[in-house]
Symmetry: C2
Subunit: 451 residues, 2 copies
């Protein structure tokens, strides 16, 4: 099956020294400096913009849940990071993760609207429900709310946010100096939302922003997650290991979007790929092997045991996973990631040590080492075969892995007619080929007037 | 009494087209553009930095409470605005208002720590409890919490924030590539806070920031507000109309700081001043009169009635305030502002129309029109007479009022030896002459080791 829905989209997923957990141990990285250095993050964004990528993206979670011994911790809050990046870039889209479980919709919707103004319409929001108990404990809870409840709250959070972003009509700002009337109060609408989780009077403090709504991104692949994505998301990040799994996910998500009454072309699916690029295939392999050798297995084993809800002692490094693991139903955290890891280990009969190597590279995302041509082929293969509208590029090592991708892989994709050589638009929605949402108040008024 | 505690400090309080409510009606302003235009706000910050001012400052409240007809509304959330300004400035301090009533300490403390990293140690937080019911209604409440309860919550919010900012010791980042140990987990401390309003496990996600704690600013002048300021604040913004009132406030606040065991020199008092600067005194007066003529009294009367808790019909424009107004005890909103307005009207026997003119200029802050020398004299007078450690400069019109101040008034203050001609330090704390806080965990460890 050849299936090419539109031009390929590329997002750069940025993370301190890179996605491989041992990347900070390479000579190129300055690990005590990079995790909090805005100049470094700004340079990464400028590299991605040089490659005309659609967007950059930061993950986030409101808790220090990792053992700081293992790898660079100490992440900055991404909305303020993106504001500082917006000031030194012109076109690239800027996507921040933020939690619907541990925020208030008025504050967060307002911050994204503000970022959209600041960036001239380049902001996206990766909507997450946050799947670890350490976060709950920073917000007055002993345990995290159940998985399904988190997703119910997320849906209402999005409804409130959409209402707030539409609470000012586009023509609410009048600025009539002569009459002394700054704004038209009939064009600013309190939302008066009363729901199960939230009561929000509105309106927003912020006039309608360049994109009206930030691009909505979703990355949960559980049943609840896919449903939320199908209903609201415009871009979906997903971890898929095989072409067949990726095709199944792609088809399933588009079908669900249709069930929600949406045009499936407005829900773009971007599987993650962790490329390790070398001048030759052997050089790429050697880079990857060097990284894997630098993993400290003891830290990784503790993390894997936590994800699988077992004791670390039940995971001897040179044996396969135990047979009696919990079912996905029993997991209140990141359900789909859990299943992906267990399936990967079972399918390939990996020992714990081998599984740690595979996860250390991409935390469940597809890793791929090869030449620039081979990476471009791997991308085109999934794109041509109905598995992806684009890719979430997760360089194993930063900054070099992003530079390699931009300088060596992107030109091949452009040459093949798969990717842009210049930005056509100025907003993130334009990069992704998505329309600016109409304002429901304006529409209703226009319809009444037309009768 | 001549009292000069140290070099004068100057903060520029920035607000859309200026602090005079009719400023947007002047030819220089582009009111439908400026309220959300980051390039404009960045230029204002660069102008203040050109004048070597200590800091800029944005007010904030999480609700659209004003009639949008009256004057520019539509404010952006200030932490993201300051991040975008940090990227295009080098030295000037950046102070954002944020509410302790309508935020979670983990999220907000983290955002300020992130901003402090992003700006290289230039961030301050104006701690407010938010005094209007429209905000409560955006966060699931019908009424705002009582005044005293808001301040109790603010104190606990600050305690949690201070613990979080100290949760990483300065040497927690190790980056030992050889041993494969990134961080020293014995130097990262969960805070395990359990209190009346908050339970927060910690630690922060963010390593200790350049200033350790953002500069803490407070602007409430009620009894509760002054107490919070005396206990925690390092800079205090205040509205004072007369030298005598300002001296009394200054003396009282320093005394309260001493009662909390603090060195009064580490609590800097900055009264507001709304300067209107002309080449001659007559020109300055004419500018001010032109602004006052442009006030739409009807909007202002409704706002005044709301502040005074009376019906607008009870405030005929050409009569004095009614005799039977509520006492400050009955006000759950901005108590000290209420008293200041009533006292101003009674003291000077102002009609409602005259009072509106006075408030339209500076919302209760001291307005002053004159030449650059006269403005410098007015500043020096309060500074020399124990009423101020510095000033909160609130230009009636922006950008021209700030440019006039920087180009014409600052050189006079420098010439008189009252103000810096170059920045000596790089952080906001250094500008204000305040030390970087020591880390209590490190102190405790060092003391044990020294025994």
């Amino acid at each position: 099956m050849t299936h090419r829905p539109g031009p390929l989209h590329l997002n750069a997923f940025l993370m301190s020294t890179g996605h491989h957990e041992a990347s900070w141990r390479l000579p190129e990285s300055d690990p005590t400096y990079l995790s909090t250095n805005i100049a470094y993050l700004q340079r990464l964004a400028q590299t991605a913009e040089r490659g005309k990528l659609d967007s950059i993206f930061f993950a986030d979670g409101p808790a220090q849940s990792r053992d700081v011994g293992r790898r660079p911790a100490g992440t900055l809050e991404p909305t303020v990071v993106l504001a500082a990046i917006a000031a030194v870039t012109q076109r690239i889209g800027l996507i921040a993760t933020a939690s619907t479980t541990y925020n208030d919709p008025y504050n967060l919707a307002r911050r994204f609207a503000s970022l959209d103004h600041i960036s001239g319409g380049r902001v996206g929001w990766n909507v997450v429900t946050t799947a670890f108990v350490e976060a709950a404990r920073n917000f007055g809870l002993d345990e995290q709310p159940p998985h399904h409840e988190r997703y119910e709250r997320a849906a209402e959070f999005l409804e409130v946010s959409l209402k707030l972003w539409d609470s000012w009509e586009d023509d609410a700002e009048v600025g009539d100096k002569e009459a002394g009337v700054w704004g038209d109060s009939s064009r600013v609408h309190p939302i008066e939302h009363v729901g199960r989780y939230f009561s929000v009077a509105g309106a927003l403090t912020t006039p309608r922003s360049p994109q009206a709504h930030p691009l909505l991104v979703q990355a949960g692949s559980s049943e609840d997650g896919k449903d939320l994505a199908a209903r609201y998301a415009e871009a979906v990040f997903t971890a898929q290991q095989t072409l067949e799994d990726a095709q199944a996910f792609y088809t399933d998500l588009k079908r669900r979007a249709v069930e929600w009454g949406r045009d499936p072309a407005t829900v773009l699916v971007l599987p993650g790929i962790v490329p390790v690029i070398g001048a030759t295939e052997a050089e790429a392999r050697e880079k990857e092997d060097e990284l894997d050798r630098l993993i400290t297995p003891e830290y990784a084993r503790v993390q894997l045991a936590k994800t699988l809800r077992v004791d670390p002692d039940d995971l001897p490094l040179d044996r396969e996973l135990p047979a009696d693991l919990p079912s996905e139903d029993e997991i209140e955290g990141a359900k789909s990631r859990y299943t992906l890891i267990v399936n990967l280990a079972r399918r390939e009969r990996l020992t714990v040590r081998q599984l740690i190597g595979r996860l250390g590279g991409g935390r469940g995302h597809r890793t791929f080492s090869g030449t620039a041509v081979q990476v471009a082929d791997a991308i085109q293969d999934w794109y041509d075969h109905g598995a992806a509208d684009g890719f979430n590029i997760m360089p194993a090592v930063l900054p070099s892995g992003l530079e390699d991708f931009v300088d060596d892989v992107v030109p091949i994709l452009v040459e093949r007619g798969l990717f842009r050589s210049e930005y056509a638009g100025t907003t993130l929605r334009e990069h992704y080929g998505l329309a600016r949402p109409a304002n429901p108040h304006t529409l209703a008024r226009t319809e009444v007037a037309a009768r």
